[in-house]
């Protein structure tokens, strides 16, 4: 057991993640060709606009399911909503936010863009602390809209007239997942502006602009889009219940900041917070690069049901440094 643990802790989780992401990408984008279907409540961007997908992103059914009059919430359709939410929760709770770091196809695409940038020797950009604080609120606004807009189609909210039907899946219309992911199956049809109505024109126009921003942003900023992702906001609501966790022993921490400086989303708390045990933040995607970069034994750890799966160790840190330099 100790030998196994040591082997794991000495391992390079970044390399493992690279291959895992590739596999997950293949499965979620092309799994349909093998007649795979893992349901409609996946806590990750397995986009419904990809025909060969192996399962669907939960945000799409969620928008449909809340699009009903208040009276039906207690009826059969309400049960549908509840079942969807519970299924989402069950999927999510298994791997927590690692769905973002290890499975999300849109996240993987951003990581590939980052690899390309690094290979070209172009430096990344960082957010200032304050900017970061302001921007991270956007995803909660998007999540609120994603639920309120469909609700406003079936109901009159705040005394306003009911909203047009075209807003039914408004978030999907502006999500870069819809425009980018089908490209991997040779389908460029989503890269267009829909002129069928004024609402659709506005939504798809915005979607095209966001797609442009997605590529440009991901090229200069690691995981640029993730900071705005409403799925990330929805997940964080349940993150405390996750079985997979990222934990920290504050007493072991020297606040050297290694974890924070390798963090793709630029989380500061991982280094500065020395009191929280469960250290997952709302922007965290549980890629666990921080654990690999931590030189203090047992300070940061990945646990599943309380059992350490991957822990920071001084030995593991040094092995990774050596290996990396040898591979250039």
């Amino acid at each position: 057991m100790n030998a196994l643990r040591r082997f794991l802790n000495n391992g390079d989780i970044n390399r493992f993640r690279l291959w895992f992401q590739l596999g997950a990408f293949g499965l979620l984008i092309y799994g349909g060709f093998l007649a795979m279907d893992i349901g409609n409540s996946l806590p990750t961007f397995s986009c419904v606009f990809v025909d060969s997908r192996a399962g669907a992103c939960y945000l799409y059914p969620l928008q449909h399911q809340v699009n009903m009059p208040w009276s039906q919430f207690s009826g059969g359709r309400g049960i549908g909503l509840a079942v969807g939410l519970v299924t989402f929760f069950l999927f999510f709770v298994l791997f927590n936010k690692a769905w973002c770091g290890y499975a999300c196809p849109l996240g993987t695409v951003q990581d590939w863009i980052t690899k390309l940038r690094a290979r070209l020797g172009i430096r990344y950009s960082l957010y200032a602390n304050e900017t970061f604080g302001r921007l991270k609120a956007i995803k909660y606004v998007l999540l609120a809209l994603l639920i309120l807009l469909p609700l406003g189609i079936s109901n009159s909210l705040f005394g306003l007239p009911k909203l047009p039907r075209d807003l039914a899946t408004s978030y999907c219309m502006i999500c870069p997942g819809r425009t980018v992911l089908p490209l991997f199956t040779g389908d460029a049809s989503q890269l267009a502006i829909d002129f069928s109505s004024r609402t659709m024109m506005a939504l798809t126009g915005l979607g095209m602009a966001i797609t442009g921003g997605f590529f440009a942003g991901a090229f200069v900023k690691k995981r640029f889009f993730c900071l705005f992702c409403p799925m990330s906001a929805l997940q964080y609501a349940f993150s405390k219940a996750g079985l997979l966790r990222l934990t920290k022993q504050g007493a072991k921490c020297t606040r050297c900041g290694n974890c924070s400086r390798v963090c793709d989303v630029g989380i500061r708390e991982i280094a500065d917070d020395v009191t929280s045990r469960n250290i997952v933040q709302d922007d965290c995607m549980m890629c666990f690069k921080c654990v690999a970069a931590c030189p203090e034994s047992h300070c940061l750890a990945v646990t599943f049901l309380g059992m350490p799966v991957y822990e920071a160790t001084a030995e593991g840190f040094m092995r990774r440094t050596k290996r990396r330099d040898n591979h250039g």
Partner: protein, 424 residues
């Protein structure tokens, strides 16, 4: 200073330095029965450096550091050898007294004295001196060095380390330092060279960490006076040779654990040493502690553990990420009292005390060293709250307080014996 007087000063200081060094080495080597054999490398190294006129230096450029805060990885990547100049010599302290107020800190005065005479301790040939702007005395010392004729780079440091502003300021300052290094040595710092420097210094720290870990063993296996020689040797020794010697020492110590070779007794009080750095030949206080029967199992001083603990991590193998990474290493985890907050130092001390099963803490502050004197209260309070006794000592490089100190240290060690027995 006229020439004749200067030569006389160089001669007498040289004699006094050799006497000091010989006496410290005698105590370190002969007064303890259980020296590891692998320590001979270090004993010989110090004998050669301080009593034998210094070892032959190879041809590489030598960059002096007035403090541990200069990122040595950059110096190595620029093809030069870093030499830490902080001196522990009373003879140099006296020579340096003419440049600083009487109440100034011994360490700064000794370093100035050494550099004004340019005779030993690494001061013979220096292509550049880096002066990180830490405490006020070092800042001013840097300016004096320019008057002595040295080429000095003042590496500007922020007064705090937690804020983003401080970190950005420091990273820019380090970037500028890298450019000065390239200009000095004529060698470009490339990502390959820097990666190699990060790896080799990382391996040295890794070797030291292993030795450090072994001190957690319930029965002390190595004494603090030896560990301090090992870490002091890092100031001037060849990096690869040092790493190999530390590895050999750690191997031997590991054997002791398995075969129960002699070490200090199980009931010896375990001490954590913190505060102003004990630098060879001034091992006065550490030696008194161990002569009185205590064992320094761990320390938190910038000449030893602080210097050799923290590691560099970078995300992308490119200079835009690696240079800030080596800058971060010396700023973020640093527990020097010149910074705004003492919280990290207190947390570090409490963690070390717990994980090394420490019975008591000895806090050294050099007379004249304000930062350490100022933090003594908050550190002491935190230790009291954690039920850890602390002896706080104000001293300098002079031998005058030896008698008084040994009485206090003996009493402190005696008072810990009951606790140590209960623990064992």
């Amino acid at each position: 200073m006229d020439k004749e007087r200067r030569e006389r000063l160089i001669r007498t200081t040289g004699v006094h330095l050799a006497m000091e060094a010989t006496e410290t080495l005698r105590q370190v080597v002969e007064e303890f029965p259980d020296n590891p054999r692998a320590m001979d490398y270090f004993y010989d190294l110090f004998r050669a450096e301080y009593c034998g006129g210094g070892a032959k230096k190879n041809g590489a450029m030598r960059i002096g550091m007035l403090c541990v805060q200069a990122p040595e990885e950059l110096i190595r990547a620029a093809g030069a050898v870093p030499v830490r100049l902080c001196s522990g010599s009373h003879a140099f302290d006296q020579a340096g007294a003419e440049f600083m107020p009487a109440k100034a800190c011994s360490l700064v005065k000794a370093t100035l004295g050494m550099l004004s005479l340019r005779t030993a301790g690494g001061a013979e040939r220096l292509d550049l001196v880096v002066n990180p702007t830490t405490c006020e005395q070092k800042k001013k010392a840097g300016e004096l060095l320019e008057d002595f004729g040295y080429r000095v780079h003042h590496l500007e440091m922020p007064p705090a380390k937690d804020s983003e502003e401080a970190r950005i300021y420091w990273q820019r300052s380090v970037k500028k330092f890298a450019a000065v290094l390239e200009e000095t040595t004529g060698v470009r710092i490339t990502k390959q060279r820097l990666a190699k420097a990060i790896r080799t210094t990382g391996m040295a720290r890794s070797a030291y960490r292993r030795l450090h870990e072994l001190a957690k063993w319930p029965r002390p296996l190595i004494r603090g006076k030896d560990v301090m020689l090992v870490t002091n040797a890092y100031f001037f020794d060849d990096l690869d040779r040092w790493t190999a010697a530390v590895t050999e020492l750690a191997d031997e110590i590991e054997q002791r654990r398995e075969t129960n070779l002699p070490g200090a007794g199980k009931h010896a009080p375990r001490i954590l040493f913190t505060g102003s750095p004990p630098i060879f030949p001034n091992l006065k206080l550490p030696l008194l502690i161990e002569q009185a029967g205590g064992v320094i199992v761990v320390d938190e001083v910038c000449s030893s553990s602080r210097l050799l603990h923290d590691q560099v991590a970078y995300d992308e193998q490119a200079l835009y990420d690696m240079v800030p990474a080596v800058a971060d290493r010396v700023l973020k985890p640093c527990t020097c009292p010149v910074f705004l907050s003492s919280q990290d130092r207190v947390r570090r001390l409490l963690d070390l005390a717990a994980s090394f099963a420490v019975d008591g803490v000895v806090y050294q502050s050099f007379a004249g060293c304000m930062p350490y004197a100022l933090e003594q209260r908050s550190v002491g309070q935190a230790l009291v709250n954690a039920n850890i006794p602390m002896l706080s000592v104000e001293t300098d490089y002079g031998p005058d307080d030896q008698g008084q100190l040994s009485t206090r240290v003996e009493a402190f060690i005696e008072s810990l014996r009951g606790k140590a027995r209960k623990r064992a």
